[in-house]
């Protein structure tokens, strides 16, 4: 799904990111602000915990009966005059979308912000066929103009500040005035002038999907800027790409998620634009509607009874905003469309442990993500579950080197020591004796081998002369 194979491991990528003072400052400020705002709007609802539980329980049911709901959705969308396409993977999805655009002879399309199309690298695939897909979400446009990668689910350009955006617009947009300031209003106006022409001239629009109602065939996109609604209403042809898990059984179920999502993501009581459409209607909006249902690894995730809760995700990004790791490394270190805690569980399951095996370890298991998740995905539980898979995968795929990796040997040795009281007590005595070359002036300031990471910034107290159990035995 991503070019994560070429991407360095998380610890390596994080080291670079942590040294970027501009990034640290931008992200620290942005996540602190949104965290505080979220806490306020969530505290306004007395039934927040019940809403979370409803959101979780509904998703659990959806995931369990996904096949039925998908067939229901297909029938409802078809009945309403839309066309359903099934895509096994990224290539198939990109081919379907490209063929529809080509059939209308378009070489320029407008796009609403969509993580799913980022996941499958739709823009790149279309460009190979000579089709330019223009991002219309302001932050996503900034990413596209600077040839960058999104670093946040909701705020893709969270790592950039106003001055960086001003400089980018002056350099890349002919609509930008020479004396453009970094005033947000002026920046937005410049983007608006640039986008207006595209909205009016494009024959085809592309969107993602937040929710699709199986019962009615209604598709929904929620957003803050209104550009999404332009993409889904102005062009003659609309193509929406959705992951198969983005389904809800009935219209009424939207009530739960349309409360949970805006408060969790943008800290708004209600999102500014909620677009809902059902098939096509003569003389109103696009006259041709295509809904592409994308698997791309999701049914494999479904088969994992612990990991499948990751499919509950409604892409609110609350877990990113509270994550102490994400706040410091930013999204690029994860090397995936889905960064932060949710990315650390979703990416390895979608693209495999060979590509993303370091991500389940990119967490201190502090649990802040689980605490805020509006659909109660137990991210720490899935992280540990995936760590078990990484350990097993390395044992099987790593050959002899995998079986005798230093970490594995250390863990196995320690497990054997802890399983036998005499060995354990002997190890305590050995530790006390063996540490003497390391202890200087009552503390250890340098540790050898893989433990050097600890002592690069942290002293260690020496093992004291008497263990607790020795004291206890002496006492009684």
């Amino acid at each position: 799904m991503t070019d994560a194979a070429k991407h360095p491991s998380f610890p390596e990528a994080a080291r670079t990111a942590l040294a970027d003072t501009q990034l640290r400052h931008n992200l620290g400020h942005a996540t602190r602000t949104i965290r505080a705002k979220r806490a306020v709007v969530v505290s306004e609802l007395d039934d927040w915990e019940q809403l979370r539980e409803a959101g979780r329980a509904l998703k659990e049911r959806i995931v369990r009966h996904l096949d039925d709901y998908l067939i229901g959705l297909e029938e409802a969308v078809t009945r309403a005059g839309g066309t359903i396409h099934w895509a096994r993977d990224a290539d198939e999805c990109n081919r379907i979308v490209g063929d529809i655009i080509a059939a209308h002879g378009a070489d320029e399309v407008v796009k609403a912000k969509s993580l799913t199309t980022e996941e499958i690298k739709l823009n790149e695939a279309l460009l190979e066929r000579g089709i330019k897909a223009w991002e219309t979400d302001l932050a996503q446009l900034i990413i596209q103009l600077s040839d960058d990668m999104p670093s946040h689910i909701l705020v893709p350009a969270i790592h950039k500040n106003r001055e960086q955006i001003r400089e980018l617009f002056v350099r890349t947009l002919e609509e930008a005035a020479d004396d453009l300031s970094d005033d947000p209003r002026e920046l937005a106006e410049t983007a608006r002038r640039h986008l207006r022409r595209l909205f009016l001239e494009s024959k085809v629009g592309i969107s993602g999907v937040n929710f699709a109602v199986a019962e009615t065939g209604t598709v929904s996109v929620v957003e803050s800027e209104g550009n999404g609604r332009m993409c889904t209403t102005l062009p003659e042809v609309l193509i929406s790409v959705m992951g198969i898990e983005k389904i809800v059984p009935s219209w009424q179920d939207l009530e739960v998620y349309l409360q949970l999502l805006p408060r969790s993501s943008t800290a708004e009581r209600m999102n500014p634009y909620t677009s809902l459409w059902t098939g096509v209607r003569e003389g109103d909006g696009p006259q041709e509607f295509h809904l592409v249902l994308l698997d791309n690894g999701r049914t494999d995730v479904l088969a994992d009874t612990v990991g499948r809760q990751a499919l509950n995700c409604i892409r609110c990004s609350a877990c990113l905003n509270v994550c102490p790791v994400y706040e410091r490394t930013g999204g690029h270190a994860y090397g995936s469309t889905y960064p932060g805690p949710i990315g650390a569980i979703l990416t390895p399951m979608l693209s495999g442990l060979d590509e993303a095996g370091s991500l389940p370890y990119a967490s201190s298991l502090c649990g802040a993500c689980y605490e805020v998740c509006p659909v109660k995905i137990n991210i720490p539980e899935v992280l540990v579950h995936l760590r078990r898979k990484v350990v097993e995968h390395e044992r099987q795929a790593g050959g002899l080197a995998g079986r005798v990796a230093p970490e594995r040997l250390a863990m196995q040795t320690m497990a054997r020591v802890f399983a036998d009281r005499r060995l354990y007590e002997a190890a305590q005595r050995t530790g006390r004796l063996a540490q003497w070359p390391l202890v200087r002036r009552g503390k250890i300031e340098r540790l050898p081998g893989p433990l050097a990471g600890w002592s690069s910034a942290r002293d260690l107290p020496p093992v004291p002369r008497q263990s607790f159990r020795d004291w206890w035995r002496q006492r009684s």
Binding site: F10, P11, A14, R15, L18, P324, V325, R328, T329, P360, Y361, A362, S363, S364, L365, C366, G367, A368, Y370, E371, V384, R387, R388, K389, V390, V391, E407, R408, M411, Q412, M414, A415, V417, F418, A419, R421, Y424, Q428, G431, K443, E445, P450, G453, W454, S456, A457, R458, D459, L460, P461, V463, P464, Q466, S467, F468, R469, D470, W471, W472, R473
Partner: protein, 251 residues
């Protein structure tokens, strides 16, 4: 009441004074303390790093060591969370139904120190005296897995002579995370640096927590930076009492 002390391998080996402090507090409150010598490690590090199979014998050993205990008490929130939240999973993984039953019957009796003091014994004032400025860091597993809430703070505030200073962004992780501190050392250090900054901002001379693993992490940085602030387990503060009148001047 009779309580069995689950010291944890880490405290047993590295921080015996915390265990001694727990014994002192409990005996002062009239609790009879025993220490099953067969106990070793709860297996948290193995489990959280992905070595669940290696955890199975440790769960077996724990259950055997404490099967007769009325109450098990431990001065480590993360080890208690391991037992209470994950032992069931490990037992299930082992496929041993009798182990699963034993785990189910034992784990509700395993308590973190402040739970035992506040909930079971119903005390907040344990008769401690500690005339120092301190700040309290709620560790993640105590906060979010055990949901200790303000129990540790209530105990701290009842200490005579103490001044408890509020820590900014207190609920943010210190960056320890077990093997995370080594596997992702750079990120861990970045988190730790911010934690240390907020601790120093309080002007406290002692950083208190209810888990020595996080304290070793925080204390390791305070020591490296020659910050003049020390890390101290809550139990060691609660164990300190006022010197008897006429027993000489106070420090």
């Amino acid at each position: 009441m009779r309580a069995s002390l689950f010291i944890t391998c880490f405290n047993d080996t590295m921080f015996p004074r915390t265990g001694q402090a727990v014994v002192e507090i409990l005996e002062r409150l009239g609790v009879e303390v025993d220490f099953p010598l067969e106990q070793t490690c709860c297996g948290q590090m193995h489990f959280n790093t992905g070595y669940a199979k290696e955890t199975i014998p440790l769960v077996r050993r724990f259950v055997r060591a404490f099967s007769d205990s009325e109450v098990v008490v431990s001065p480590s929130a993360s080890c208690v969370a391991m037992v209470r939240d994950h032992y069931g999973q490990v037992a299930e993984l082992s496929g041993d139904a009798s182990l699963a039953r034993e785990v189910e019957s034992l784990t509700p009796r395993v308590l973190e120190l402040t739970e035992l003091l506040v909930d079971e014994l119903g005390v907040e004032d344990v008769g401690a005296f500690f005339p120092r400025r301190v700040t309290y860091h709620p560790t993640c597993h105590g906060l979010r897995m055990l949901k200790l809430g303000d129990r540790p703070l209530r105990l701290l505030r009842a200490v005579r002579g103490i001044e408890v200073l509020e820590l900014e962004e207190a609920t943010e992780c210190c960056g320890f995370g077990g093997t995370f501190a080594v596997k992702n050392a750079d990120t861990s250090i970045a988190m730790l640096t911010d934690k240390v900054r907020t601790i120093l901002d309080t002007g406290a001379e002692v950083c208190v927590a209810a888990d020595n693993s996080c304290l070793m992490h925080i204390g390791g940085a305070l020591s490296r930076q020659r910050a003049g602030v020390r890390a101290m387990h809550l139990a060691e503060i609660l164990a300190q009492t006022e010197p008897a009148p006429g027993a000489g001047s106070t420090a």
